[in-house]
């Protein structure tokens, strides 16, 4: 379980993180989304006990990160961006070193290295130097290193950045397995499809503050309302008058298709249909258009930016 309570972090006079709170229960994945510089990485670094917390509190597996940062780090696995590794070490040497850095005896660290190499599919590379590894293999080494302490909490910051499609899919499958291993996972990503596929909850951060929080489905429905599409039999005429005075946004006419958004479909949609029929339109269907998380995210971020 990861718990963050009103985390604040300042750098000089700048507030990089401003009151971030979230819970990540065992076996769940929370995606942190936000533009560059929004405060995602700083939040993760505070939560994982790497940097100090200016204000607020954080716990990893019931360990207070403020009071016992080293113990918190011992319970956390952190995978940060691109896989920069000690190239001139062998895989076995690399993983054993990190095992020992986490307090394992040399013998246990060696055994753990063998175990992890098997787990990430690199058993046959144990004695090879890391410099000879492909990018996908390097990312697997990075992951193995993050798992060396069998952490109950995992922080994955851009874990698939720079990977090819196949390697990224493979990596995402592995992340899904972590959920079954009852680990709490915080995932920072710019790949919104990845967040939609993996996350139980999505948190959007902007200027250090949480501007949206919910399941991917909830976020897609929130803010500007759901999007609907009306299909007409004849597409030449526009029926702008049918939308006048109604609580709708972003009305787009396109060859017999009318797209619009409304927060109040129960009363608005029947009224639109009534007006269209009265104006002589032949309405074939009214459908809810499935929004992607990406569309929802862009709306949220723009909305938050406009709100100042």
């Amino acid at each position: 379980m990861i718990r963050l309570e009103q985390l604040v972090r300042t750098f000089g006079t700048a507030r990089a993180v401003d009151g971030v709170s979230l819970d990540v229960p065992d076996g769940s994945i929370v995606a942190l989304l936000g533009p560059n510089g929004a405060g995602k990485t700083t939040t993760v670094r505070m939560a994982a006990g790497l940097i100090g917390i200016t204000q607020g509190r954080a716990w990893i597996d019931d360990i207070d990160v403020v009071k016992q940062p080293a113990h918190a780090r011992a319970r956390a696995g952190l995978l940060m961006g691109e896989a920069n590794l000690y190239d001139n070490m062998t895989l076995q040497g690399y993983l054993s070193f990190f095992g020992e850095a986490y307090g394992l005896s040399p013998a246990s660290a060696r055994n753990r290295a063998v175990e992890l190499a098997r787990e990430v599919g690199l058993s046959d590379r144990l004695t090879r130097k890391i410099e000879s590894f492909s990018k996908g293999m390097r990312q697997r080494v990075h992951l193995a290193r993050a798992l060396v302490n069998d952490p109950p909490a995992l922080f994955l910051d851009e874990p698939t950045s720079g990977l090819d499609v196949e390697a990224a899919i493979e990596f995402r499958e592995r992340i899904k397995e972590f959920r079954h291993e009852r680990r709490s996972i915080v995932l920072c990503t710019h790949v919104l499809a990845e967040a939609e596929e993996l996350a139980d909850d999505v948190v959007v951060i902007q200027r250090g503050r949480i501007v949206a929080h919910g399941s991917p489905a909830e976020l897609k429905r929130s803010t500007l309302g759901e999007r609907y599409r009306i299909r007409l039999a004849k597409g030449l005429k526009k029926f702008e008058a049918a939308f006048k005075g109604l609580p709708v946004d972003d009305v787009v006419f396109n060859n017999g298709l009318i797209d619009f958004r409304t927060k109040d479909p129960t009363t608005t949609n029947p009224e639109i249909v009534r007006r269209l029929v009265a104006a002589g339109a032949d309405v074939i269907s009214v459908d809810e258009v499935d929004r992607t998380l990406q569309e929802a995210y862009v709306d949220i971020v723009r909305g938050a930016r406009d709100a100042g």
Binding site: F11, R45, A48, L50, I51, G52, A70, H71, R73, A74, R75, A76, L78, M80, G81, E82, N84, L85, Y86, N88, M89, G93, F97, F98, E100, A101, Y102, G103, L104, S105, S108, R112, H142, R145, A146, N149, D150, P152
Partner: protein
């Protein structure tokens, strides 16, 4: 397995980091070559040169001090690679994510990358120098230099070498790249190299108290610099620099 995971105390943590640094150093051909040049080639060449200077204790002592100090130049380069190079290449992040204490990481890197190999190289160099010098000047050997002065200068040179590494690291710590740090540290290397030469002459002509006084000042400066370096080089600073 989870039960075994725990933050290591400072000393065992330092040892883990130091061992990795030593291994990395030994696997790096450039570093090994530098150590071999400073630890073996230089003493041999210098000792051959010194044979002709018997009877001139200041010259012999000056040369001996260089044999002892030169390995620390290579040590300083290794230390810069271990600290600034890792930050530059982004390999520091995973290390900082471990429960290792700041002091363990700092001391482990400093010992493993700089002090232990430099000290070992100095020892090899000193042995090579003494063997060659004594063999080549069998009649007089190092008897021309008072034993006490010899010991004082060996101690002084080693302390000066230690100081050079820590001063260089302190100065170079804010550099963004190893190359930048190397350029900055030149201002430390040259004064130390020439400084010990000068000290050799001064020590010969003054009382022992002078040498021990200089050593004391250097030790105090080393302690202060180590304290400052450890403050400058901390988890947060290193992480902020890695982005």
């Amino acid at each position: 397995m989870r039960d075994e995971i725990r933050p290591l105390p400072v000393l065992p943590g330092t040892f883990v980091v130091m061992r990795r640094e030593l291994r990395a150093l030994l696997q790096d051909r450039r570093s090994v070559t530098m150590m071999a040049i400073f630890g073996l080639l230089f003493p041999v060449l210098i000792a051959n040169g010194a044979i002709g200077s018997k009877g001139k204790p200041a010259v012999v002592l000056g040369i001996l001090t260089e044999v002892l100090v030169f390995p620390y130049i290579a040590g300083l380069q290794s230390a810069l690679t271990a600290f600034i190079g890792e930050r530059e290449h982004g390999t520091l992040g995973p290390l900082l994510a471990t429960p290792l204490n700041n002091v363990s990481i700092f001391a482990g890197k400093l010992l493993g990358a700089a002090y232990v190999p430099s000290l070992a190289t100095s020892a090899v160099g000193l042995t090579a120098f003494l063997l060659l010098y004594l063999r080549g000047s069998a009649s007089g050997g190092l008897k021309i230099v008072p034993h006490a002065t010899l010991i004082e200068m060996i101690a002084l040179s080693l302390i000066a070498g230690f100081a050079m590494v820590v001063f260089g690291l302190l100065l170079g710590s804010k550099a963004k790249s190893v190359r930048g740090a190397q350029a900055i540290t030149t201002v430390v290397v040259l004064p130390v190299v020439f400084g010990v030469q000068l000290l050799a002459t001064v020590v010969l002509n003054h009382s022992a108290w002078f040498a021990w006084g200089v050593m004391l000042v250097l030790i105090l400066a080393i302690v202060a610099s180590l304290w400052l370096s450890a403050r400058v080089w901390n988890r947060e600073e290193a992480l902020v620099s890695t982005g």
